[in-house]
């Protein structure tokens, strides 16, 4: 049906009406006092969301822009770095780092499996000469639905004493607890079209005091991503280049809504919702792609087994107006992914489960006991709500 589309992809994610409304406001001058007031408010809220007293800077661009900014602002050509890779976005870190001539040692896990934090510990402890300048990884691997053990890996990085930790939190920020200051993470990247429940176009980067020291000595070439420009102007509640003004309006609104809900509630909601989907998927006789204990609360990847992902995706899209995501690269057709991060309620989970039952009833006739997935989701949600 026209205008019935519901996004359940891992980005873009659904956007509240209040946020959409301000997207359509007339732009105001980005050097005006009114806009400075908006930036000031946003800056405080971003620190709250990131649980940090560090600077959180905004770049007009995608999440990858923040990832690139992280690298070019902290490192020097030929620096040795350690990079975790267990999915498409881990791979992206490796490609990005190599594009800048860094010497990348990769700690790899198979897609669907988490990074082995012990492997990081071993390599970091062996580096007695302190040649490793950064440890770079993806927290929530959007391509596989795996969440890595950032807390443990960060601890090993901190024990090393020299290496910075640089983390893609694109689908974990505003979804799951990432206490940056407590865990001592140096650089954290995220993007607007995820947990922030707003449209794409803004990227965020949090920088620790130690990361700023690296910034001052970094020699990789940069201009649009030169965070010293952003830092200098952010003190004056401004930006070095014309920002995506309307997206700032949206950000202010979205952060206000998030603050009203509260971090605890946001994390609990995502946890509940993801567990309910996982329970439903299993009850429907399908398999989860990400290994047990490391399933991201932002995205669930489901194996297709005896049907084509494309068929399920097109029925969901064309009959029920729900947009899900296919697998990426070699997983295309072999998994499909449900995004449930950002502006997603318990009701949306019931909707997606009910819709999946309906579509699977068509695709796998006789193999689906109708109502079983829904029952599992409802049970899971109600057991959580009782807590």
């Amino acid at each position: 049906m026209q205008d019935k589309l519901t996004l359940m992809t891992p980005g873009p994610t659904p956007v509240p009406e209040a946020v959409l409304k301000v997207m359509g406001c007339h732009p105001i001058g980005h050097r005006s006092r009114e806009f400075e007031a908006i930036i000031q408010e946003i800056s405080g809220q971003l620190r709250w969301l990131h649980q940090t007293s560090n600077d959180v800077l905004i770049i007009t661009g995608s999440g990858t822009a923040a990832m690139e900014a992280a690298i070019v602002n902290t490192l020097k050509s030929k620096d040795r770095i350690l990079c975790g890779d267990n999915g498409k976005f881990g791979e992206r870190w490796v490609e990005l780092a190599r594009a800048y001539g860094l010497e990348v040692e990769v700690i790899r896990s198979p897609w669907g499996q988490p990074l082995d934090s012990e492997a990081f510990r071993v390599v970091l402890e062996a580096d007695t000469e302190k040649l490793i300048k950064a440890v770079i990884l993806t927290h929530s691997e959007t391509s596989t639905g795996v969440i890595n053990d950032l807390k443990s890996i960060s601890k090993h990085v901190n024990s090393h004493g020299v290496a910075l930790s640089i983390v893609d939190c694109v689908t974990s920020m505003g979804v799951v607890n990432v206490p940056i200051d407590v865990w001592g993470i140096d650089v954290v990247c995220s993007g607007s079209q995820k947990g922030y429940m707003m449209p794409p176009g803004l990227a965020f980067i949090a920088m620790s005091p130690r990361a700023w020291q690296y910034q001052e000595n970094s020699t990789l070439p940069k201009f649009y991503f030169n965070l010293s420009f952003y830092r200098k102007t952010s003190i004056k509640n401004s930006s070095p280049f014309t920002p995506a003004i309307n997206l700032y309006f949206a950000l202010k609104e979205a952060l206000t809504i998030m603050r009203q809900e509260g971090l605890e509630s946001i994390f609990k909601r995502h946890d509940e919702n993801s567990r309910a989907i996982q329970a439903a998927v299993k009850a429907m006789g399908l398999s989860l792609y990400a290994c047990d204990g490391y399933r991201s609360p932002s995205v669930t990847a489901i194996q297709t087994i005896d049907f084509e992902a494309e068929l399920l995706l097109s029925l969901m899209r064309n009959k029920l107006d729900i947009l899900l995501a296919n697998g990426q690269d070699h997983l295309k057709g072999r998994i499909f992914r449900i995004g449930h991060l950002g502006f997603v309620s318990n009701r949306d989970i019931l909707t997606i489960v009910a819709s999946m039952e309906s579509v699977l009833h068509t695709i796998r006739p006789g193999k689906v006991v109708l109502g079983r997935g829904l029952a599992a989701a409802i049970n899971e949600l109600s057991s959580r709500t009782k807590d």
Copy 2:
């Protein structure tokens, strides 16, 4: 008054309601067929606007992002380039090029004066070894209201035979005639919050076949700005990274409106409006900052002489809800700037002239003959309309 703000800055510029409306639509998936259809339509319209059969690619970012993409995609470290600098955005090219280790020879003119196309000819003709790899300049210098003689300079670059032409058309695209293919310009950068009459957040870069050859051999490090990624995906009406989806909705709408108006009419409207403002400024006893014959149809810089720019700007803002721009850098306080590019009609010109008379009446009591500026603007507009 609340909600009465009128933007007359050289960016952001006013946005039509039809464009604002789609900004507030729910995002759709950027890998969906619906979005591919939007990209396909936009791509055709961008070629029309650029008067080119070259690729015109879209980057989520500010105009500076396109400028940086132009450099890192065409050049190699230590390449020799020739850079025109007669204002803040000319300076930016020089800084950007130096940040990437290029050897920059600068052809400078004083702020307010145009670049000397003869100086380009002389240097290019002297380069018999063909060491100059690119000639880089700003077409419309937003900081001073000067428009450079791009046609002549492009001719000299083409005679050189090796150097690429790389041009910042941020405040000239969609304002004044820039026939890219006819003039043989290789790389053209622009941004959404200018002649495109939409909010900021998108940057555009047009690349000639020769520029693509340079791209393949370019060695400067890049990832987010790697245009080979953009080219590869644009063939499939897609983008390499998550684009600012809602700004694409706006772009589609804005380009539709522009196409309805037609290039000739757009250029004529900007020409008329700028001449009317210039005539009014002179009639009010003020001086234009940009030299005669090289005044940009997108922005008019006015010297303050015997009053503070800040006083005029604050009266315009606080009493009449019109936002103008101050001078930049050493011109702060010494000039003020009126942006009249994009969604600006004859009526807006009458409004700004009437408002300036009102404010100058307060600031320079006894020195302004009321009605004289307005008369000059009306005369200028009606003489043009008769053509």
